[in-house]
Structure formats: structure tokens, C-alpha cells
């Protein structure tokens, strides 16, 4: 906003003297010359004011008369004054004498009136000893002053009439012309002295007979600082009618400030409202200086005298003409003087400045955003405000609900579309049908932003496909990665998504990399920067990693499972297990981990076939080494049935027996994890017989040999009959043992025959690996799911087959075996008999068949 400055000074004397514009020297001189021509009008007006002219005349003449009468007491000669009037008024001696006598008479009559006036003024001054009224509404003087003033006027006119009657019409007319021409302010006379710029000397004596003054600024003669003219004929009069001066400031006729009334007893004027202040555009400021005695003339350079005041006592009652409006000038400096006993005012209307945009606070804008910024300039407010922005994609408007302000600012709002053309635009403001000058604004590119990088990490030595999400990437963006060892190659790019390959070199330093996207602008032709914008996104992180091995898992029925201390404790020899190394983060680098121990190869998974029994180690190395243990069983060779020696006990009575003991089985279970089975393995198998021997009532010929020939013959016959009839009256326990041991042999060959098929069948049994956590549980399940049945079937087939082996005397291998033992006893009886001369029989079955205990064809068996 342009600042309008005006300065006002109020000088209180009697008359307003000058209003000077500073637009040009020519105007100043025009004003001066106008003042000269206007003086005639003022004079003409004064000439019609007889009470004023003759008041001053009579007052002056009375003073001269008084001085003349007292001339004998001083060195001064009043004669000069008398002669001066006589000469200039063209009076004879009698007329002159009568003139002075009339003035003296008037003075005598006026004196009591004057004393009353002085009393009123004195009273007012006593009331306001500091010369300042308490408020603008105070009335320092009573209305009696007006009455007294009118009485004074009456006395003046009365004695003027007396003078007129005495001098006669013709002579009075001549005298009156002298009074009007010489006593009233003689403008022409004083203007003649303007170039002296000093008060002219009083033509008579040293009193205030009347004078004019132009005070020209010494530095700039075009400025008339002060110009005085008037009718102050006697200084004592001024003091006499001076109750005070007050100044008021209005804005659009509203009083906004006033200064205290001051009584300036010894000065001719005072200054108020000096200085400067900022005025609002199109507001009218008015300053009125108000006197309290009398203003004779009030005029201005163009209209002449417009107001003659009486006493100015009713300032607030509005009995003043409308404030005078000064001409608006682009710049102005107004000098304002108010003299005592006058009421003057000045008005200045701050002109409305022309529409002009000086600046806009923000000149750079980014698409897809809304801004509020401020226009600065002049003439921004008015009707039909609108904002225009060249090109497309920018919608601008005046922010609603703004009121004209003294700082000349206007807030505007701009909406920028995303796809608007980037570059410079022209912004203008239209007000009241006028369009301002254009300001240049720039639509820049949006800052690229990155919201996500997936994956946020990659292994050294790998090419990682990366997706970068964000916004405002522009056409042909660039990816920048800090540090070394990682290179980006963009595959595809849109405004919001980039796919790229991050090539991480082998041996690239592990750690974080700063990733930024640099935009080449929306169209890819260059990033247009506006205030605060950047072609580079904020930093996102990408980490180069080399994962270590956190743990090793194995595949259990298709599910990767952590390896526990027992999970690999019973691995089937020859079976395979699939292992997987789990990284502590991300995924392993290429070629990692490296498998060791019983495993080999590289990569996250490996399959190990366990062909060696015993404890095995499987390790994976990738920066660290993690190992797990596995226990592998023996290779699955056929387990031989162990035939235990028979347990033999002797019982006193009863039949001798051989019974087959239950097969003692010991199982193992091994895990075929890849096939998800627990496989049954026969750890050992033992079998045998229990033999109970009884001699019953038989007589052992070796223990209790025959003592007679008959006994010996009977013994040999009975011992020979064992094979055929099983007789045991003469018998030996050892023969029975041989008999039963043959049964043991039969059981042995039977069991051994059927064992191989049984063992094979047993080791085909499986249960699901995932159903049992350990081998013992698996063995239990395997027993119930087949092993018990297989062994029972094995035992039953053995008994069934053994039943086919004859145990009949005369046939049985068992009896044959027993007979062989008894044949020895027979031989010893025969020897005994021979020694005694007894006749006994010979051995009947010298070689019974004890071959092939399992001589019968084996029964079919399908366990």
C-alpha cells in the first residue's frame, strides 16, 4: 500500500494564511498569485464591516489622544500622530480635533464594557491557570462576553454616526474611504513586502498597527512556511480577547482525537497535530483549529473567505460550514496555520491507490496440492475480485471473507492438479473491472517420496528383484544407492512404482545402504524446483546381509521340523533324510550354506542317505556352523536265531518232558524318515527247550546192578525193550536225557527252519514315523501291529511241525537216542553177567536211527 503522508500545523493568530501544494513550483506560484487577487475580496469584505474598522480606528485614535495628552510628561510628541491622521485623512484642524475628541468619548463609554470583558477573561484564566481546559466541552467564557461584544459594537456604530453627523456627508465619505483603505488590512500594501519575508515596520510608532508576513522556507523558496496578514492593530487587543485555542482530528466526520485547549497569552499562534500518520485509503481526515475570541476571515486559496466567525464559542453546535476538502494529490504536504481568535480546519482525503501487484509471498507451487498465500500491492480490494493464472491445471481464487486492510494484502488460494503443466505461469488480479500487472509463479515438480522397498534386504552375491513404492517418481527416475557393492538397474518405472534389480556384489560389505529416488521431473525432461522442493526422495534403507545358520530342520512327513536330541537317534541304515538349514534372517546367499559331516553339497536343503551305522554329524556352515547328530542303526542283515542250551531239571516222579520255551525276542525300531516309517528290526532272537527228567521207578543197572542171573537177564531184556516199547523198569536217567535232548534237537532244527522267513517278515513291519516320538513307542506299536502275531505264528508252526516228528517207541529218534545210551548199560550188564557166569541176552538195537531230527517234510508256512 502506498503511504500517504500529510503533516498539519496549527498556528493560532487571526487569519488562515496559506495552503500550498508541493506538486510543482508552478502550482506554488499560482497559489501565491491567487492570494494576491483574493486580497481584494478580503478587503472589500472588510470595508463593509464598519464596526470592526471604526472599533480599530477609535481605539487607535483614543490611544493617540491619550499619548498626546500625556506628551508633556514624555519625550514623545503626539503631534506626529495627529498630523499623520490629519494629512492622510485630509481633515482640517477642527475636523481633526473633533475626530480625536469623538474617539476619546467612545473610549470613555467603552471602558466599562471593556472592564467587564477583561473580568470575564480574567476569571476564565484563573479557572484554567495552566491554559488547558479539562475537556473539549468546557466553556471557559460565559455568554456575557457575547453581549458585551455586541454592546461594544453598538458604541462603535454610535460614535461613527456622531462623527458622520459632525463631518457632514461629503466630508465623512472622504474620511470613511481613508478608514477603509488605510485602517482595514491593506493587502496590497503588505504583499508588496512579501519578498522581504520580514514583518514590515509599523507605519506609525511601534504598535501593532497592522502588518503582513510571508515566511518562505529558506531551503525551498517554493514553500511558504508562514504567511500572516490581518488587522491586529494593537497587540494589547490580542491578549485581551484570547481565552484559548483547541484542535480536533476527525476521520470521516467522526472525532477520533482532540488536544487540550490551551491559552496562549504571549504568543500569536500555536501548533498542534504536527507530524505524520498513516491514513486509510479513501478516508477523509479533518483537522479543525478553534479559537475562542474571534475569527475575522477564513478562506482558502480557491474560494476566498467563506466564513467569518463571531467568537467561535459554539464550535460543537455545528455552526460551521462544511469542512473544506483539499484537493487530493499523489503526495501531499499541507501546512496549516490557525491564528488566535480564528476557527480553521483542513481536510484531506487519502486517495485510493491504483491496482498494482507488488509481490506474492509464495512463487513456487507443487502439483496435487492446495496453497494459501498472500498478494501484496495496492488497490487490491473492490468489487468482483478474481485471480487469473495462465495455462491449465491451476485454479486460483480470493480467500473468502477478507476485508480491506491497511497493509494492502490479499490472501489467495490455489489448487494445483497433479497433471498440470510444469513451469512458469502468469498470475493477475482483477478488481472493479481492472486487471493488474502480472506476477510470475512457477509450478514445480513434486518431491519424489518412497514409502516402501521390498525386500528391504538382500544377500551378498545375489541379484535381488526389488519393488519400490512411492510417489512422484516422474519419467525415467534414477535410483541411487550409497556405498559400494550394490548397483541398481531399473526394469520398469511408473510415477508410483519401480521394479529394479539390485545387483549385490560378492563380498559386498554387509550393512545398511541409503536408497534414494531422484526424479527427472514429471515429463522426464528435468526436475523443476520450486521453493522447498527437492528432486531427491528421502532416504530408505536397504541392507546387505549374509545370513548365518540359525538351526537345522529335517523333513518329517512333508513338514520341516526342528531337530531335537532324540528325533534322529534311530535312523535306519540305508535310509535317507532331507535336511534344511534355516537362516537367522532372510535367505542364504548363493552357495550357502555348505553342508558337512555326513551331508554334502550347498544350498538350503540337502538329502543325506545314511549308509554307515553309528553316530553321524550333519553340519551346515554359513558364517557359522550348526550341527545335529544322528544315530544310525546297523545295516539290516538277517538275525540268526540263537538256540540256547536246554535247561534240564530232574524231577522225582512223572514223565520226562521237553517243552519249547517262548522265543525271546529283542526288537529295535529304526526311522525311515523319508518314507515316514518306523521299521522293525530284530535285534536278537533266542529259543530253546526246557527238559524235565524223571527216572520214575526205573532201576539204573550201573547204580544198582543186577545181583542175580535172573535180574541180569531181566535187565538186558528191559533195556533192549526201551526202543520198541519205552519200558523203563530197568533204565538210566541219562538215556531219558538223551531222549529229551533229541527233542531239543528236533525243536532246534524246526525253529531254525522257520526262523528265516519269520525274521524277514518281521522286519517288513512298519508304523508311521510321525505317530511315535521314539523307538520304544514305535516298538510297542510294532509288536501290537504284527510282531506278536508273527512270533505266535512262528511258535505255532514249530509246535505243529514238531508234532509230526514221531515220539512213538520203535520209530522215534528220541527213543533211538535213549536206546543208544541204554546199549552201553546193556554191555556193562553183560560184562557183569559174564563175570558171574550168568546168561543174558545181547543188544537188540545196536544202531537205531538218530539222524535228521527234522526228517518229516516241513509244513507250509506263510507268516
Amino acid at each position: 500500500m502506498q503511504r500517504r503522508i500529510f503533516s498539519v500545523g496549527i498556528i493560532g493568530v487571526i487569519f488562515l494564511l496559506s495552503v500550498v501544494a508541493l506538486a510543482s513550483p508552478t502550482s506554488v506560484f499560482n497559489s501565491v498569485f491567487k492570494t494576491q487577487s483574493i486580497s481584494d475580496k478580503i478587503l472589500a469584505n472588510q470595508k463593509n464591516d464598519d464596526k470592526t474598522i471604526y472599533f480599530i480606528l477609535f481605539h487607535h485614535l483614543a490611544l493617540i489622544k491619550e499619548k498626546s495628552d500625556k506628551s508633556h510628561l514624555t519625550d514623545e510628541s503626539p503631534f506626529d500622530y495627529l498630523e499623520s491622521y490629519k494629512t492622510q485623512a485630509k481633515l482640517d484642524d477642527v475636523q481633526t480635533q473633533f475626530l480625536f475628541q469623538t474617539a476619546e468619548d467612545w473610549a470613555k463609554e467603552f471602558k466599562p464594557i471593556e472592564e467587564k470583558i477583561n473580568a470575564i477573561v480574567k476569571q476564565s484564566r484563573n479557572k484554567y491557570p495552566k491554559g488547558e481546559l479539562e475537556s473539549a466541552n468546557d466553556q471557559p467564557l460565559s455568554n456575557d462576553l457575547t453581549v458585551l461584544w455586541e454592546e461594544k459594537d453598538k458604541t462603535v456604530l454610535k460614535y461613527k454616526e456622531i462623527l458622520q453627523n459632525t463631518l457632514g456627508e461629503e466630508q465623512f465619505a472622504n474620511f470613511n474611504k481613508f478608514a477603509v483603505d488605510k485602517i482595514a488590512p491593506n493587502v496590497d500594501y503588505n504583499i508588496l513586502n512579501q519578498n522581504n519575508a520580514t514583518p514590515s515596520s509599523p507605519p506609525i510608532g511601534s504598535g501593532c498597527y497592522g502588518y503582513s508576513l510571508y515566511d518562505v522556507d529558506s531551503n525551498n523558496p517554493a514553500i511558504i512556511r508562514n504567511m500572516e496578514t490581518g488587522t491586529v492593530l494593537f497587540c494589547s487587543m490580542v491578549d485581551y480577547y484570547d481565552p484559548g485555542i483547541q484542535s480536533f482530528l476527525f476521520k470521516d466526520d467522526v472525532l477520533i482525537s482532540s488536544l487540550p485547549r490551551r491559552i496562549c497569552t504571549n504568543c500569536s499562534y500555536s501548533y498542534d497535530f504536527t507530524g505524520q500518520f498513516n491514513g486509510e485509503s479513501e478516508k477523509t481526515y479533518k483537522i479543525r483549529g478553534d479559537h475562542w475570541v474571534r475569527a475575522y476571515y477564513y478562506y482558502n486559496t480557491s474560494q476566498g473567505p467563506v466564513f467569518v466567525d463571531g467568537y467561535g464559542l459554539n464550535f460543537y453546535q455545528g455552526n460551521y460550514p462544511p469542512p473544506y476538502g483539499f484537493t487530493n494529490y499523489p503526495t501531499g504536504y499541507y501546512y496549516y496555520n490557525v491564528y488566535k481568535a480564528a476557527s480553521t480546519q483542513i481536510s484531506y482525503r487519502v486517495p485510493k491507490p491504483a491496482l498494482h501487484l507488488d509481490s506474492v509471498d509464495r512463487t513456487g507451487f507443487s502439483p496435487s496440492d492446495t496453497y494459501t498465500t498472500t498478494l501484496r500491492g495496492t488497490g487490491l480490494f473492490g468489487n468482483n475480485q478474481s485471480i487469473q493464472v495462465s495455462g491449465s491445471g491451476v485454479t486460483a481464487r480470493v480467500k473468502p471473507n477478507q476485508t480491506p486492510n491497511t497493509t494492502e494484502t490479499l490472501q489467495i488460494e490455489l489448487d494445483i492438479t497433479q497433471d498440470t503443466q510444469r513451469g512458469e505461469r502468469q498470475l493477475t488480479l482483477s478488481v472493479n473491472g481492472m486487471t493488474s500487472n502480472a506476477l510470475t509463479i512457477t509450478i514445480g515438480d513434486n518431491d519424489p517420496t518412497v514409502s516402501d522397498i521390498t525386500p528391504p534386504e538382500g544377500n551378498e552375491g545375489e541379484n535381488v528383484n526389488v519393488e519400490i513404492l512411492g510417489s512422484n517418481f516422474g519419467l525415467n527416475p534414477q535410483i541411487r544407492i550409497s556405498g559400494t557393492g550394490v548397483q541398481a538397474t531399473i526394469l520398469t518405472a511408473t510415477q508410483s512404482r519401480i521394479t529394479a534389480v539390485f545387483s549385490i556384489a560378492n563380498g559386498a560389505i554387509q550393512g545398511m545402504r541409503d536408497v534414494t529416488i531422484t526424479s527427472r521431473g514429471y515429463g522426464g525432461t528435468g526436475f523443476i524446483t520450486v521453493q522447498g522442493s527437492s528432486d531427491t526422495s528421502e532416504v530408505m534403507s536397504f541392507e546387505v546381509i549374509a545370513p548365518i545358520v540359525a538351526k537345522i530342520q529335517f523333513k518329517k512327513n512333508g513338514v520341516w521340523t526342528d531337530v531335537s536330541s532324540s528325533s534322529l537317534s534311530s535312523i535306519c541304515n540305508g535310509s535317507s533324510v532331507e535336511f534344511k538349514a534355516i537362516p537367522n534372517r532372510g535367505s542364504f546367499a548363493s552357495g550357502k550354506p555348505v553342508w558337512g559331516g555326513s551331508a554334502s553339497g550347498t544350498g538350503a536343503t540337502t538329502t543325506v542317505t545314511f549308509n554307515n551305522s553309528g553316530s553321524q554329524i550333519i553340519s551346515a556352515t554359513s558364517g557359522n556352523t550348526i550341527s545335529v547328530n544322528a544315530t544310525v542303526g546297523q545295516s539290516n542283515n538277517a538275525t540268526v536265531l540263537e538256540w540256547l542250551p536246554p535247561t534240564i531239571i530232574t524231577v522225582p516222579t512223572g514223565n520226562s518232558t521237553t517243552t519249547t520255551k517262548d522265543t525271546e525276542m529283542q526288537y529295535e525300531a529304526c526311522a525311515d524318515i523319508q518314507n515316514n516309517t518306523w521299521n522293525l528290526r530284530v535285534k536278537s532272537a533266542k529259543a530253546g527247550t526246557s527238559i524235565e527228567l524223571s527216572l520214575e521207578n526205573g532201576r539204573d543197572p550201573d547204580v544198582n546192578p543186577p545181583t542175580t542171573s535172573i535180574q541180569a537177564s531181566d535187565a538186558v531184556r528191559e533195556l533192549n525193550a526201551y526202543f520198541d516199547f519205552g519200558t523203563r523198569r530197568w533204565h538210566k536217567l541219562s538215556a531219558t536225557e538223551a531222549h529229551e535232548r533229541m527233542h531239543d534237537s528236533e525243536a532246534k532244527c524246526t525253529n531254525e527252519h522257520y526262523w528265516g522267513q519269520t525274521e524277514t517278515t518281521l522286519e517288513r513291519l512298519t508304523v508311521p514315523f510321525t505317530n511315535y516320538s521314539n523307538a520304544n513307542d514305535a516298538i510297542t506299536a510294532l509288536k501290537l501291529n504284527g510282531a506278536n502275531a508273527k512270533i505266535t505264528a512262528f511258535q505255532i508252526i514249530n509246535v505243529d511241525y514238531e508234532t509230526t516228528l514221531s515220539d512213538e517207541p520203535g520209530v522215534s529218534r528220541a527213543y533211538a537216542a535213549g536206546q543208544i545210551v541204554l546199549n552201553g548199560a546193556i554191555e556193562r550188564v553183560r560184562t557183569l553177567a559174564a563175570s558171574r557166569g550168568w546168561r543174558v541176552g545181547s543188544i537188540l538195537h545196536p544202531n537205531p536211527n538218530v539222524s535228521q531230527p527234522c526228517y518229516q517234510p516241513f509244513l507250509p508256512y506263510n507268516p
Binding site: 517243552t659 519249547t660 516199547f725 502275531a789 509246535v799 515220539d807
Partner: protein
Amino acid sequence: MKKIILIATIVATLTLISLSVLSQTSKNEDSLEINTESRLNMVYSNYNIPISIVFENKGDEPTRILNIFDKKRILPIFFSIEIINKNGESIFSTRGGKVEIPRDSMLYIELKKGETHTVTFDLQDLISLEDLKKKLKDNAIDIKNSEYKVAVIYRNQYGDNCFKGKLRSPEVWLDVEESK
């Protein structure tokens, strides 16, 4: 050869279960018919679990069976018991064996048509209860909490003019009660 029909009946002597009528019949490969009681109840901790085997001649001709039934020490040679699971598999069996019997000491029981001979013995004559428990435990067989059947097998290879061979009773449900 004469057709010999024997019927073996397993009669469980139980605390709460009375004898019931013959209810099941099966034929072996020699066309021998064997009937048995429907269920065998074991009081698991009892020392005495009597089993009665009934030989019945259902043939037209007389037949003999070796009479060794009073010699309890050799009963396991002739009789064995099998435990059968739900799949019909024998998962446990007592064992047979051999016995030395002089020919002149062999005695027989003759059964005419329709005649029966009942042999009663105790389960513990075949296997001690402790052995049974141990063997079942070793083989993880819990007869108390699962459904099993039992069968009694009679085998004989001894004697003259008597039945020789193997008879298998029908399978009967095995009820096991805890000892009171």
C-alpha cells in the same frame, strides 16, 4: 478211516457268569466239529481260572482219546491256549512239547456216538499266571483294556487207535475283570 467228530467246549467257571448253552460251531479241516462256550471270563489276578474241555463224539463210530488228563504236569504238552486280536491274529500262544510215555502205561477213554468227556483243568496248569502276565506285558498286550478272543488247542501224537492230531476250539470272547 472212520469219521471222528469231537466237540471241545471251553467252559469258563466264573464268579458271576453261569454256564450257557453251546452257541458256536466250527469245523476244522478234518471236518471235526467243535463247539465252545460263547465267552471266557478271566478274573485276572485269580490263581484259579478253570477251563473245561468237553470231548464229544458226534460220529457214528466209537473213538478213543488218550487219557492223560489226570497228569496235570504234562497237560501243556496236549493243550495250549491262544489269544486272538481283533484282526483274527493269534498274538499269544502257550507252547506244546514232547512227553515220554511208555506204551504200556497209555490209557484211553472210549467215546461212543454222542458220548462226551469233559476235562477240567486250570489255566495255570498251562501257564502260570505270573508268566502269563509277564509274557503279555513283554509283548505289550493289555488284555484288560482291549477286546480279545481266546481259543484252546488240543494236540496229541501219542497212543494207539486213538485220536491223534490237533483240535482247535472256536474262539470265544475273553472277558477280563479286575480282582475284587
